[in-house]
Subunit: 424 residues, 2 copies
């Protein structure tokens, strides 16, 4: 096999291949041999010992070498990863990758190349790191219907939100701490703006609904606007704010929504207890009921564990002259727009403290067909606030209602606005 | 395919096969056809509609019919299930079973028959019902080393212990409620004495350590002796009592222990939040770190979901002319006796209230090389109690210490004794 990339994950893959050579050979039925490692620059110091002659900067040549039958890609990003993977698959090799961005942008090309080359494409490490999640979705639940997936799939944002919840501090402080501890990168955009989670949501939705989904189809909101007040207000109500990746089938089963946004979930929900940089994915299936998968979503060794699990599987498949499950897109369901997504809202309004305010606000909700579950009036005078939680309504109706509220003269400001999930 | 048994699980399998025929065919690549259902008595009312001509009482004839290539066994128990499965496998068919008792007693014969017949043996539903657990252990973690498995794998006992914890009531009351609600059977022995959990522990340990384990090798203690006082005392200390199935590798990696017994776990442990009849399994692997799998451990539809997932897998394998992963026992590690298991203990002693008591008790612990982590003296006079939590020690040393304590004249009684897990 050949390895593309020798960073945090790649060097752990090599270390584990060395340390567990005997076990891996026994589990596969033949030894795994590392035949080459493609890197950008030679001569760099690595975290792991590798015979220098294995290194090459010519990844293109490596992935088409005749003596290589499995390629592990841990470079990340779109190019050159895509071209290399496609070239490897076209040459009849099997590929193990952790590349969520590529899979969510152009998984179709990779699957197509795998089919033509009659090789395997495995990618357990691309979503939720070490947590066995894609194999259960693709295989264990192959006889069931997934209704909904609610996932905490980005460790950085979960760390930040957990800190804000525990300390009461601001987003900026929590982000800085995450950066100091290495949980967030110097440029944290991909994490805090939800791009990373959106790629994972696209992969999960595709597997759950046997349809093709790209990251561009995922409604995405990040966590940068969340204030200490939002967090405190959620806490007061027995909720906690999490960045969720949500895939949900429509009631008629003909389409589904895919979205990433912060949401309030009840503290009693299994996902509420997911602390620090841990990941967890909650799956609701028609027959299986509620399932949850919990573990480390990132890091060298955990990701390498998932890569090695796939490596054992594709190596076994090659020995048996077979392939793992192919892309399953037979259902070909449409992704519906965010406006059609059914959700609930928590909204805090700074209002004028005079009679008739509640009536006018309630009237506006009714006009947009959004029914109110609870309303609480807090404070007096300039501090008067209405805290409203709605029943389920389409996101379009909820947005129109918020638009209308902002225009009402008696509403001084929408102090906080957050979707509510996980308590229906 | 043929179905053996048409009870709670079997009728759900048939219902789902009907309802999802199109999806299953698309996922497999060919339609699934139900060719026969073996039952004990014909003419009985079933929960699902089936053409009457499909029923037969001649299971032996059914499993060897030429037109059948997959057999699903949901009869349970050792015989006739074993003979039927072995006959089916010997005839080259693939088998999906939920039969934990049989797998834990004689899995070796079944695997052997599968190998000879070149068919598949899948059994995801046998442990933790709908929770995808065996596939992750067998496949996703194939590149990792499992250190420890801590599982709540019996819903009945978890329901009872959860009730005792919530209401403060007795074991008997909680058991009665579980029976009324259908969570416990009229004869609850298999559940409350830990037999069911022990079979599952044997299956989990075998997969985790790539070795052969039978239920007879599992150290087993049930929950019938647990009192409301034990539960309250655990609660006071921030712990909750759960019946755990524990598989743990020895420090030198050369053997492992498998046991089922009630244990105190910290309320902050992810397993502590597993309520009612839910199941969850916590896995610690060297590279992946801590993982948890949570969901419904029993019930017709959840179990049927797991059976159907396996059914799709074995049907795909047959179409591709291949087999799934074989039994993996290459490591061939020994199961060490309970005495060598390293654990911790919480013990409450009713003691004489006089000077020097603590010194004599501490001396006894020291004599057996068991070091004390915390000790708390409570009450006075006839109510005087010492509450001790030990550091890690072998179970043999802990047992010898308890034996010694019972013989000390200053100890009036060992009021409560419980192993402590999950906080190291």
């Amino acid at each position: 096999m050949a390895l593309l990339g020798c960073g945090v994950v790649g060097s752990q893959v090599i270390r584990l291949m060395h340390e567990q050579a005997g076990d891996l050979a026994a589990r596969i039925g033949a030894p795994l041999e590392l035949a080459g490692v493609a890197v950008r620059r030679l001569g760099r110091k690595r975290d792991v010992e590798i015979a220098p002659e294995l290194f090459t900067t010519d990844a293109e040549a490596l992935v088409t070498r005749d003596d290589i039958d499995i390629v592990v890609e841990v470079i990340g990003g779109i190019e050159p990863a895509r071209s290399l993977i496609v070239a490897a698959l076209a040459g009849g090799k099997s590929v193990v990758t952790a590349n969520k961005a590529l899979l969510a942008e152009d998984g179709a090309s990779l699957y197509e190349a795998a089919r033509r080359g009659n090789g395997d494409l495995y990618f357990e490490a691309s979503v939720a790191g070490a947590i066995p999640l894609l194999r259960p979705l693709r295989e264990s639940l192959a006889g069931d219907h997934v209704k909904r997936v609610l996932g905490i799939v980005n460790g950085t944002t979960n760390y930040i939100l957990d800190k804000m919840d525990t300390t009461g501090g601001s987003f900026t402080d929590a982000l800085e701490e995450a950066q100091t501890l290495g949980y967030a990168e110097a440029d944290p955009t991909a994490d805090i703006e939800g791009f990373d989670a959106a790629a994972k949501a696209a992969i999960l939705a595709g597997l759950a609904y046997h349809s093709r989904v790209t990251a561009a189809e995922v409604h995405r909101e990040g966590i940068t606007e969340i204030t200490a007040t939002d967090v405190a207000s959620a806490k007061d109500m027995g909720y906690v704010i999490k960045l969720l990746a949500i895939c949900a089938r429509s009631d008629d089963g003909r389409s589904f929504g895919v979205r990433v946004h912060p949401a309030m979930i009840p503290r009693s929900h299994p996902l509420a207890g997911v602390r620090e940089a841990y990941n967890a994915v909650f799956v609701e299936a028609e027959s299986a009921g509620q399932l949850m998968f919990y573990g480390k979503g990132a890091g060298g060794a955990p990701t390498a564990s998932a890569v090695l699990g796939d490596l054992v599987a594709v190596a076994r498949n090659r020995l048996a002259g077979t392939r793992g499950p192919d892309e399953s897109t037979y259902a070909d369901l449409a992704v519906h727009p965010m406006g059609e997504t059914v959700t609930r809202c928590h909204v805090a309004l700074d209002v004028a403290d005079k009679p008739g305010v509640l009536a006018r606000v309630a009237e506006l909700f009714a006009k947009h067909d959004v029914s109110i579950q609870t309303v609480r009036q807090e404070g007096h005078g300039d501090d008067a606030q209405l805290v409203i939680v709605t029943h389920r309504a389409t996101d379009a109706a909820l947005s129109a209602t918020m638009e209308g509220l902002r225009e009402l003269d008696i509403v001084r400001a929408v102090a906080s606005l957050m979707r509510v999930e996980g308590d229906d």
